[in-house]
Structure formats: C-alpha cells, structure tokens
C-alpha cells in the first residue's frame, strides 16, 4: 500500500503548488480610472477602515448620504480594529481580493504604494478633485512623485497640560510660547515634588515617531533623507534618549515600568487620562478624547524649544489617508466616492474632525462653528503653530519603526543600553529593514 501513500502525497503537493502559483498570479490589473462613471447599472464597492465604534457610526452615515446621490452604488463598509485591519488588508491584497477604497496610514503608505498595490490617484483626476486641499497636505500623500493617497485630515504633535492639577499644586507654568526643554524639566520637577509623588510632572514619550521627528527637526536634522535612508545623526538621537532617561531618573517622569505600562495601554489608561500626570504629549486631535477621559481641564500647549530654533520641529502630519486599490475593478467609481468623502460639505459635516482636521480649506472653514470646544481648540492649534515642511513619508520597509523605537526607548529607560548605543543600534536596525524591502 505504499503506492497509495505516494499517490496521495503527489496529489497534496499538487494542491500546494496550485496555491503557491496563485500567489504568483496576483499581478492582475484593475479597471480604467479615467473612464466615465457608471450611473446606470449596479456598482458594488468595498470600503475599509479601522477605528472605534464612534467612527463606524459616522462613516456609515456618510455612506448613506452618498447612496442617496448615487442610487446605483452599493458601498460595503468593512470596519476593523487597528491590528486586525492590517492583517486583513495584507491577506486580501496578497490574495488579489483587496477592498476598493482603503483607509491608509502614513507608516504603511510607501510599503503598499511602492509595491504597486495602490492606484495613482492622478489618473483619476477628472473624478477626484484636489483643488481645495492644501498643497502641503497633498504632498504628504505622494510617493515617488505620484499621488497615491490623499490625507483625510491633519494633526500636529503637541503638548497637553492639565490646568486643574497645575492649580491644585500651586505651580505656575512658564510662558509656553517661548518655553524650552529645560523649562519643561523644571516645571515637571516642581509638580512631582509638590504632589509628593501622587501626581508625576511629565508623562514620558519615546514611543511614537512624532516625538523623534520633532526633536531631530528642531536641531536641523531629519529622521529620513529625501531618498528614504535613515538620516538621523546618532548624537542627536542619543541626546533624545538621554533627556528621557534624565527625566525618569529625576522623578520628573514616572519610573520606567509605569511609563511603559501606560505607553502600551490605550489612551484612556494614560497618565493624562487618569489625572496622574500633569503634562504629556499628544496629537492635537486627541485632546477631545483625553478631556473626556480625564474630566478635568486640559489645554494644548506648544512643543518646548520651538521659539529657540531656526527650523520648527512642528509639522502637519496626515492623520490618515484615503487610497484606492490598484486592482479595483471600478477605480473611477471609487474615485467619485473618495471625492465625496473629501470635498462634499455634507460628508464633512458628519465626519467633523474624527479623521483629523480636514485638509480641505473650504470644509475646514465651514466646520468651525459646528465643533465642540475641544475640537475647536485642536483646530485652532493647527493655525497657531509655526510648521516646517512635512517629513518624508515613512520609507518602504520602515513600517515597523514605532516598534523598533519603542524597544530602544525601553532599553534606555531600563538602562540596558546607553543612549549612545541605543542610537547606533536603532539606526542600524531601521536601515537594515529599509534595505531589505
């Protein structure tokens, strides 16, 4: 009967090879993005995004609005949590079954675009208008000069202060228009001491690209060179980690295990949300969430050191993007839908600042009176800060940067690596990832 075994083995190998060759056949191309939009026969588009239940509700509403204008369209909204979203997207793209309209993140944009998974939206320009969108914002969606994605909105890195805690411990905040990193350390120290350790002055950072970008840019450097190599000077990175380490050692920020615990937890469990830290970092549009969780008065303040430097560290970061699958069967129709999301006032009125402060100037102007106090504060913050040009989009292969950054911050905080060694190891690892892609 050994015959029987080998016969079956041959069959199962054939099945496996079949599956493998299907992988190779994934290069199929989609429809014509410049074609006339089908308004007669039924069109079904798949539209996917990540987020929480509040975003799911708003997005569903927008889909309904769109359907009332284009009755022959069916938009299937597929919502996922952040991690599940990327697993699912990678799998469907690999199997040539990607959704048509894809919510995209800055870290993954180049990884998908450079490998040909996304449609060059320039080819759909007669359906998808970008005239009202700020050009600095549009630039953040370009990879190799092509517009693969359009930002849904903008955010900016900022600091947040809990006014009630400051008052409670009788601490006066320095002038945050002109404050320095040294001022931040001093005021944080005062709060930690005044509260007897109950409230810690500053919530440490070092786990997101925003903080690193800002630090490097203030000193005239950048994380990546324009051609997508790691360009951060080791000495500056070492300085970044040295500062974080000094804060922790002096008790200005919490002890390392608590810092890391809060960094790993969701926003609601951070020190700012539970009123156990007086000053922290955030993306400006998160103010509403922090305020809701904290229940106390929170205020956005400028990044320290900005007034002292020639090049501002601050920049507009696209909060997320809209993009279209390059293999979509209905790229023109998908472009019409994205145009609706970006440029129609009705959609803007529903979405508000859920996906960032809109980059569309007209919509942004019309939105102001409809916003809550904190959302308005976030929008105002964008106008109040001085920004430099946006950093280069995360290069293909560097999508894991936040995990790499976080691990190195942990090693510095627990003193398993010196800031200098961490800086060198970080650069080497990130560059290896980019080279391998």
């Amino acid at each position: 009967m050994s015959n029987g075994i080998s016969r079956r083995n041959v069959l199962s190998i054939a099945a496996g090879v079949g599956a493998a060759s299907a992988l190779a056949a994934c290069g199929g191309s989609g429809g014509d993005a410049a074609a006339a939009v089908n308004t007669e026969t039924p069109v079904t588009l798949r539209f996917t995004w990540w987020g929480s239940d509040a975003r799911h509700k708003r997005t569903a509403q927008v889909i309904e609005l769109f359907k009332s204008k284009y009755p022959n369209f069916t938009i299937n909204g597929e919502f996922k949590d952040w991690n599940g979203y990327w697993d699912s997207l990678a799998t469907t793209v690999a199997a040539n079954d990607a959704p048509d309209i894809i919510q995209m993140d800055e870290m993954y944009l180049a990884s998908y675009a450079e490998r040909g998974a996304l449609l060059d939206l320039g080819t759909a320009s007669n359906h998808l208008k970008t005239a009202d969108i700020e050009s600095t914002a549009l630039d953040t969606g370009k990879v190799d000069g092509k517009q693969y994605a359009i930002p849904t909105g903008l955010t900016a890195y900022s600091f947040v202060v809990n006014e009630d805690l400051i008052k409670q411990y009788n601490v006066t905040l320095p002038d945050t228009e002109t404050w320095s990193w040294e001022d931040l350390r001093a005021v944080g120290d005062q709060i930690s001491k005044a509260s007897g350790g109950k409230v810690i002055g500053v919530q440490s950072w070092g786990f997101d690209t925003g903080s690193v970008n800002v630090w490097l840019r203030q000193q005239g450097a950048s994380l990546y060179s324009p051609d997508g190599k790691v360009a951060a000077p080791p000495a500056l990175l070492a300085g970044y980690w040295q500062y974080l380490l000094d804060l922790a050692k002096a008790g200005v920020s919490p002890q390392p295990s608590i810092t890391i615990e809060r960094a790993a937890a969701a926003l609601d469990q951070s020190g700012m949300a539970t009123n156990t830290t007086a000053i922290g970092t955030a993306w400006n549009t998160q103010l509403t969430s922090y305020q809701a969780a904290s229940g106390q008065n929170l205020r956005l303040i400028k990044i320290p050191g900005e007034s002292k430097v020639g090049t501002p560290g601050a920049y507009y970061k696209p909060s997320m993007y809209w993009s279209i699958s390059s293999r979509s069967k209905h790229p023109a129709e998908a472009a019409v839908f994205v145009d609706f999301l970006l440029n129609s006032q009705e959609a803007g009125d529903v979405l508000l600042t859920d996906r960032g402060v809109p980059g569309n100037k007209t919509i942004r102007a019309a939105l102001a009176p409809k916003l809550t106090a904190t959302d308005k504060a976030a929008a105002d913050y964008l106008d109040a800060i001085k920004v430099g040009p946006a950093p280069r989009v995360t290069p293909n292969g560097a999508s894991g940067i936040e995990a790499i950054l976080k691990r190195h911050s942990e090693e510095v905080l627990f003193e398993r690596k010196t800031p200098q060694a961490a800086a060198e190891s970080f650069i080497k690892e990130l560059q290896t990832e980019i080279d391998a892609a």
């Binding site: 615990e261 469990q269 999508s399 391998a436 892609a437």
Partner: protein, 308 residues
C-alpha cells in the same frame, strides 16, 4: 521515527498476534480526514514550505532566494532571543499548568459539596484567556495600580508595573497561562470519569492510602490522558500567541522580554511584509515541535499504559 513505533503497539500489545488489517474500513472512517487533508490542509502547508525559500512581501509575487532565509536565521539576534523566551515559557508554564489542572481535577472529581460551582469558577478564567479584554484585566492584577501592588502596599513594599518591567513581564504571562488551566482540567475530569469506581473501592478495602491509590490507580489509568495533555500543551505553548500579543500590545515588549516565537514570526510576516522569512521561521518551529513530540512519544513507552 522510532518514537512513532510506539503506536504500532496498538496491534501487538499483550503479546498477541497482530490484528488483521482493515484498510477498507479504515479508509471509510478516515474519508473526511483524507478529504480535509487533500483539499484544505495540505495545500497551504506545502505552499508555506515552498515560500520558505523565497523573498515574499505579500504584495508582489514571491522570488526564489535559495537558502538565504536559512542563512539569515544564524545571525538573527531577535530570533535567538525569541527562542530563549519561548523555551523558558514552555518549560515553566506547561508543568505548572498541568500540575494545577491535575490537582484540581482530582480534588473536584467527586465527593465534595458544591463541585459544579468550583469547577465553573476555576474554568471561568479560561473563557477569558484570549479575549481582547485580557490585556486590561491583567493590568488590574499586575499593573502599577493593580491588585498585587495594593496587597504589597499593605506590607509597605513599593510596587512597580510588573507587566512592563522586562525582568518580570514573562513571569506574568506564565501566571496568565497557569491561570487558564481550565482546559486541561476539564480533560482530566473527563479522563477520571473513565476510571471505574470499583478499583478505588477495592483498594480502600485493602487499606491503601489516598496517595497509594493516586500512584497505583489514578496515574496509570489516567496516563493516556496525561500524555495527551502533555503533548498538546507543549505544542500549544510553543505556538502561544494571543495572550502575549494582547498583553504586550503586539510587540513582545518590554525590550523583547515576551517576544514569543510566533509573535516574532507574525511581526516579520505581517508588519514587515517579510512572509518568505516568516514561512521559514514557521518550518523551524515545526521541526522543533515535532522533535519534542517525538521525544514525548518515545518516552511514553515507559509510562503510558493503554488497555488495548
């Protein structure tokens, strides 16, 4: 595969003549399984083996790269780290979990009031083991403001974030795994049901102590089930993913102290678009697991007793 020779004892135990082969009946009984193997299981397994020798970023077609992936394993420090973490996890948490499960199964087997209540109470955590809420719940025990620190505080001991300290993070995950001993406990309970009460009655009449009964009746008659739990829990522990993923926020942190093998493999495959290497890693894991399983089957000859 001498370890699997153990299975041959099926036909030859008790020194009797080998039973006659029954290929036709076996084929019919195994028909669903064969169909599943052929149509669903085998293809992806073979495909993953093939992908082990490619550079495959999930979006573009795979490119053959020979033994590159294997060569890369030798110098991959994070891989070595993840192997270390995984081995510690397997060899500490599996014995602890099985001892807890067996001990409570015997305690909760019979002759105690409120059995159903206790069984359910001890099983309940296993229902939560892989839910998204577990990260938050585990922080309620081992976090900075968690139960453990509150208890330590009573004795004036300063706590820390146990989950987020690289020295203790892995231990909290081991505790988490032991905490969910419900599944092997239920299997033990089901196994204990198969031991006829009369053996214990007879032993009691003979004046055997509880310990003697445990050693001479329970362990031998339960040995196929103990063996099953041991084999499967080792396989599962090597593949352990969800708990570490959820608790560490998907990173295996802090500073790679909970970087389980599958967590690293997942990171390579999905967040770094490195599926060729991830497939090679998966096959290395398969070889490791298969090795331990083979050792288990080989050792089973000495201590597992079948009635057939």
């Amino acid at each position: 595969m001498s370890a699997l020779g153990e299975l041959q004892r099926l036909g030859t135990s008790k020194g009797g003549p080998p039973r006659k082969r029954d290929n036709k009946a076996a084929f019919l009984f195994l028909l669903p399984w064969f169909a599943g193997l052929l149509l669903i299981t085998a293809g992806p397994i073979v495909a993953s083996l093939a992908l082990s020798f490619t550079d495959y970023n999930l979006i573009q077609p795979p490119e053959f790269n020979g033994l590159d992936n294997i060569n890369r394993m030798f110098s991959d420090e994070r891989l070595h780290r993840s192997l270390g973490v995984t081995f510690i996890y397997v060899f500490v948490s599996v014995p602890l979990q099985l001892i807890a499960a067996l001990g409570l199964a015997i305690l909760l087997d019979r002759g105690l009031r409120g059995l159903a209540f206790y069984r359910s109470a001890f099983y309940l955590p296993s229902l939560l083991g892989s839910s998204v809420a577990i990260a938050v719940l585990w922080r309620q025990i081992f976090g900075a403001e968690g139960l453990l620190n509150q208890i330590l505080g009573i004795f004036g001991i300063a706590g820390k974030g146990w989950i987020s300290d690289p020295d203790t993070a892995l231990s909290t995950l081991i505790v988490l795994n032991v905490w969910t001993f419900g599944a092997p406990m239920v299997i033990f309970l089901a196994g204990l049901r198969q031991i006829p009460v009369m053996y214990y009655e007879a032993a009691s009449v003979d004046g055997a102590s509880r310990w003697t009964q445990f050693r001479k009746i329970t362990v031998p008659l339960l040995s196929p089930i103990i063996f099953f739990n041991l084999v499967l829990q080792i396989i599962h522990a090597f593949q352990s993913f969800t708990q570490a993923f959820v608790v560490s926020g998907g990173t295996g942190g802090p500073s790679d102290s909970t970087l389980f093998y599958t967590l690293y493999l997942y990171e390579r495959g999905f967040s770094r678009f490195d599926m060729g290497y991830a497939s090679a890693l998966a096959w290395l894991l398969l070889i490791i697991i298969a090795g331990f399983t083979a050792i288990n089957f080989w050792a089973a000859k000495r201590w597992v007793f079948y009635d057939d």
